[in-house]
């Protein structure tokens, strides 16, 4: 029974990985930028959530919408003032820019907020729902439910609305998007904003489960990269299920091997996918260049 228990809790936490990875993949697929500072966005989201909790006594679930808005705006600003000016530069410049941002934000947090782990106290933190003999953690269940809900909404937005179609059009065929009168720069702002907003939600949902500290982004960005490679670059669908799979793998490796080995196992998956199916298991066998977002 304990193994089933562990697996369930792994999949549930995977929902958060899905959110983070969908955000990373949206930015990658549309803006064609590998956002190495994505983990730091998560760190910032959690600190903001923590701040709402300590200063106003807002429960992380209540302040989630505010955190999402803050991160959306932060994403828009990052795109406007940091990425947009270097869009036409070589890929290496872009990598150094976001990598530099990541290091700068980490150190800024270390300087101003110290390396202490901060966490919130909620009444439901350790609550569980009992299903038969299984005890399912409430915060994890909420996180999973919210992740699935948001993934569905995002999917419908991208598939059914004109703006969503324009986002996919930019990802799929940028020049034609320009020629059809789509304001590509604005689509970039929106994509970076939404991608960051997803991280905002992930941060809010994590707050009752984890504590926050300046380098927390590092472990999550690693997971997000593995998920994106696993699910396929530009594939929202792949990022969603990839996140759940990694949640499961993490839980499994904790049981079978040793929790300390989980990052090594991510790397094994990472390398195996790159060797066996470099386009990711959910992609149509084509890169984001052709397919755009799915």
């Amino acid at each position: 029974m304990t193994i089933v228990q562990t697996l369930i809790s792994g999949i549930l936490l995977g929902g958060i990985y899905s959110l983070i990875s969908m955000g990373l993949n949206l930015i990658l697929g549309v803006v064609r930028i590998v956002n190495f500072a994505h983990g730091e966005l998560l760190m910032i989201a959690m600190y903001i959530s923590f701040l709402f909790y300590t200063t106003m006594g807002l429960d992380p679930y209540v302040s989630a919408i505010l955190v999402i808005i803050c991160l959306f705006l932060l994403g828009v600003l990052t795109q406007r003032f940091m990425i947009q000016p270097i869009l036409d530069t070589p890929a290496s410049t872009k990598i150094f820019a976001t990598l530099g941002l990541s290091i700068a934000l980490q150190n800024l947090a270390l300087m101003t907020l110290s390396a202490n782990h901060l966490s919130v106290k909620t009444s439901y933190q350790t609550s569980v729902i009992n299903i038969g003999e299984l005890a399912v953690s409430i915060p994890r269940l909420v996180a999973f439910g919210a992740a699935v809900g948001v993934a569905v909404v995002l999917y419908l937005f991208l598939q059914k609305t004109l703006t969503g179609k324009a986002i996919r059009a930019v990802a799929m065929q940028k020049q034609a998007a320009f020629l059809m009168g789509i304001n590509v720069k604005r689509i970039y702002l929106l994509a970076f904003g939404i991608g960051s907003g997803l991280v905002g939600l992930a941060g809010a949902l994590l707050m009752p489960i984890y504590s926050v500290y300046p380098t927390i982004g590092a472990s999550f960005i690693l997971i997000a990269f593995v998920v994106v490679v696993l699910g396929g670059m530009g594939s929202m669908f792949g990022a969603f299920f990839g996140g759940l799979i990694i949640g499961l793998v993490e839980a499994l490796s904790g049981v079978i091997f040793d929790p300390g080995l989980k990052e090594a196992i991510y790397f094994v998956i990472f390398i195996m996918v790159l060797l066996v199916r470099p386009s990711g298991i959910f992609s149509l066998g084509k890169g984001a260049e052709e397919v755009g977002l799915k």
């Binding site: 004109l162 179609k165 065929q173 020049q175 020629l179 059809m180 009168g181 789509i182 799915k294």
Partner: protein, 234 residues
């Protein structure tokens, strides 16, 4: 309606257009001709704002457009059907057409234009749920033209209409262009295929190495000895 004056365009150090000047008259089919790499696509990408010109002037009805961004130029009514069609391959035909009507100027006439393009190309309505990438070359070119028409153009620029298509298909599409022109849309046909283009164009401009080599009335150009030698192999 559209006027280029002394337009120069560079890709880095390489100059692609040299003091290019020409004017397209409203209500016409005009042809921009030239061999591969002559600078035809560069010229129309300058018009569409995809490439920024380093000097010179581009005006539409005397309004400067060369400093505008591509989406603003679309709002002015200049629509380009790009070389190689560049469809949204993983979207159905219908969504390609919806995105053609993305601009503000196009949205108000969405229904009317959709009816128009489906009447022009009935096969597209039959297959509207099919992915654009799964269509034949000729059908893809129809989608590309239809997508351009959905944008409600004053001036429709078509880059390499005939590329990769069977001659019979090209002839049919050229007939369609005449129908489109008859609705009041000005057309700039960009082609390597000199003979077919001159047959339907009123005025034509011939580029060589980024410079205007010849220009004038299409019927006169057909008989131009230089053009005959350079392009028709006569």
């Amino acid at each position: 309606m559209l006027k280029l004056q002394n337009v120069n365009l560079f890709y880095g150090e390489i100059q692609a257009l040299w003091d290019l000047s020409f004017e397209i008259k409203e209500g016409q089919i005009a042809a921009l001709l030239g061999a591969n790499a002559a600078g035809k696509s560069s010229a129309i990408n300058a018009i569409s704002g995809i490439e920024k010109i380093s000097s010179g002037e581009i005006t539409l009805f005397d309004k400067e457009i060369h400093k505008m961004s591509p989406h603003e130029i679309v709002e002015e009514g200049i629509i380009q059907v790009p070389e190689g069609r560049k469809l949204f391959n993983y979207m159905p035909i219908q969504e390609n057409l919806e995105l053609g009507a993305y601009s503000k100027r196009a949205k108000k006439d969405f229904k009317k234009n959709l009816r128009f393009v489906y009447d022009l190309f009935p096969i597209l309505e039959e297959r509207k749920s099919q992915m654009a990438g799964d269509l034949s070359g000729g059908q893809q070119q129809m989608v590309a033209i239809a997508r351009g028409l959905m944008a409600n153009p004053k001036l429709l620029i078509i880059d390499e209409l005939s590329l990769g298509l069977a001659p019979i298909l090209v002839q049919q599409l050229i007939k369609d262009l005449i129908n489109i022109r008859n609705t009041g849309i000005t057309i700039l046909l960009v082609e390597q295929n000199v003979q077919q283009s001159l047959a339907i164009a009123s005025d034509a401009y011939v580029l060589e190495n980024g410079r205007l080599a010849l220009s004038g009335n299409a019927t006169e150009l057909i008989n131009d000895p230089h053009l005959k030698k350079a392009y028709l192999g006569m």
